[in-house]
């Protein structure tokens, strides 16, 4: 059974519907890229997948023993975080909070998990540094480590490379694809279609027309060809 199955989902906010009758599924080990123009509902879709927002209709089913709150999340940075006085270790540990329930303090296993994920993201030397003093790429690694503390099997990444320079962007992409090779299922929102088709196994294109399928199917489809050439002409971001 698929990790995540979306059936006839309609989503939007207030009374405005952004997307209708969306259906797709994500299997363990997939690398799904959600692409689409600004305003097509990518972020709304992600919020709905995370149960931060109620869908207008339709269902989101989890399978394979995945619980609804076992989805790791790499959000876009908020204003609050830009000058937040917190050490890297505190932030990574806070990813374990979902496991705590009402228990007030972190236990040894959770501290070890945080340590392991900091090693994995190569940020152990930064553990006691202040988050706001790190570079954009380092901050993303910290947030990735936190997301890995919250969920070991599936990660949702919301525009993980926005605001990063080309070199760091490439590093970030290869880090994500390494995680995917380690068996973590990735769902990534991106507006960069050319990179999406390079790394992803599946593409979900939302907007006026909706496409869901494997990367090869997408590249051979009309909609895929159209957007790929268009982005090449416009210069990939």
């Amino acid at each position: 059974m698929a990790l995540l199955t979306v059936q006839n989902l309609s989503l939007g906010y207030d009374s405005q519907t952004l997307l209708k009758n969306l259906s797709f599924s994500v299997n363990a080990g997939d690398y799904l890229c959600i692409v689409g123009e600004n305003g097509s509902g990518k972020t709304t879709l992600m919020k709905t997948l995370l149960h931060l927002q109620k869908p207008i209709s339709g269902e989101i089913l989890t399978g394979d023993g995945l619980k609804t709150n076992e989805i790791g999340y790499l959000p876009q940075q908020t204003v609050v975080q830009k000058d937040f006085p917190a050490s890297v270790r505190e932030i990574v540990l806070s990813g374990c909070q979902g496991r705590c329930g009402l228990r007030p303090f972190y236990n040894k296993a959770e501290k070890a998990l945080a340590q392991k994920n900091m090693e994995r993201m190569d940020i152990v030397p930064l553990a006691n540094r202040c988050y706001r003093e790190l570079s954009g790429g380092q901050q993303q690694r910290v947030l990735l480590a936190r997301a890995l503390c919250a969920a070991e099997r599936i990660l949702l990444l919301d525009e993980p490379v926005s605001g990063l320079d080309p070199k760091v962007t490439a590093e970030m992409y290869s880090l994500i694809s390494k995680l995917n090779k380690d068996g973590i299922t990735i769902i990534m929102i991106s507006h960069d279609i050319s990179t999406a088709v390079r790394y992803a196994t599946h593409i979900l294109h939302i907007g006026a027309s909706v496409f869901f399928g494997t990367r090869d199917e997408y590249m051979n489809s009309d909609i895929g060809k159209f957007f790929l050439t268009q982005q090449e002409l416009g210069g990939a971001i």
Partner: protein, 281 residues
């Protein structure tokens, strides 16, 4: 001067004032870090005006224990403000400003119209700036304050990690199964309780100073959440203690002396921070 101080300390009301002042300052500074980071610095101000309005209503109704009215009304407003902060039709800061001035106007209006006291402007002034009411606390008020402060501190310690998670990234916490709505509600209620308690100490106009100054001072110096919280508590307690002592020695109003001390410490922290590079960017 020292002998005058020792003489003062022999009076129980002076000791009460010191205990209550220090406890309130401690609670306010703990919550302050979260409120400042959540961009809710002004909530203290807004809620204190609500408390002022409620106090005026209690006065009109001739309630024997006005806490019974002030506390619930303020808590209710705090819940409304903090919970609807994210997606309300009227955004956080505007909502706070609206409720705050509305309550202030209503309170003053009621006090003027129905008050039986001969010195209305004196009453209003002491409610707004704290005046000497902290020196006239009864033993019950001190106990109430003591119990509530201890509850607040214990709650804060027990929920420290959760408060951090919710403050740093609410949507992440929510997505990964942290009951962030419940914790926001708790923060709102605790904030209201602290503000009502603090009205006795510094008056309703100066409460937000107790909330924001220690947190901001600590943020100049420290870079992790834990050290900022501890430092902010230490600064706040120190300023409250010496502020009260100083106000008795030189005969200044208690509330404004404490706030002035907080402001001076903030200035010092800014300088230290700039020199040592405690805050970059």
């Amino acid at each position: 001067m020292m002998s005058t101080l020792l003489l003062y300390l022999e009076y129980s009301f002076v000791r009460y004032a010191l205990i209550v002042g220090v406890l309130i300052a401690l609670c306010a500074s703990l919550l302050g870090v979260t409120l400042v980071l959540k961009r809710f610095s002004f909530i203290g101000d807004g809620l204190s005006h609500v408390a002022f309005g409620a106090m005026a209503i209690a006065g009109v109704l001739n309630l024997s224990n006005n806490m019974l009215l002030i506390m619930p009304v303020t808590i209710l407003c705090a819940i409304l403000l903090l919970r609807t902060g994210q997606n309300a039709k009227i955004k956080g800061d505007a909502a706070i400003a609206m409720i705050s001035v509305g309550a202030l106007a209503l309170g003053y209006l009621l006090m003027n119209k129905f008050s039986t006291s001969s010195n209305i402007s004196g009453d209003v002034c002491s409610t707004l700036f704290g005046a000497m009411s902290i020196l006239t606390l009864t033993a019950e008020e001190v106990w109430l304050c003591l119990v509530l402060s201890i509850v607040v501190v214990i709650l804060f310690i027990l929920f420290y990690n959760k408060i951090f998670a919710v403050t740093f990234d609410e949507s992440f916490s929510k997505a990964t199964g942290v009951k962030s709505d419940a914790y926001n509600l708790m923060i709102a209620v605790i904030t209201a309780v602290i503000i009502v308690l603090a009205m006795n100490l510094v008056g309703s106009l100066l409460i937000s100073a107790l909330i924001i100054f220690p947190a901001l001072s600590a943020m100049r110096l420290f870079r992790s959440f834990k050290s900022v919280t501890i430092c902010s508590a230490v600064i706040s307690v120190t300023c409250a203690f010496w502020g009260i002592i100083l106000s008795m020695l030189i005969g200044t109003p208690v509330g404004s002396t404490i706030v002035a001390a907080d402001a001076v410490v903030f200035g010092i922290c800014c300088i230290i921070g700039a020199v040592t590079g405690g805050i970059r960017k």
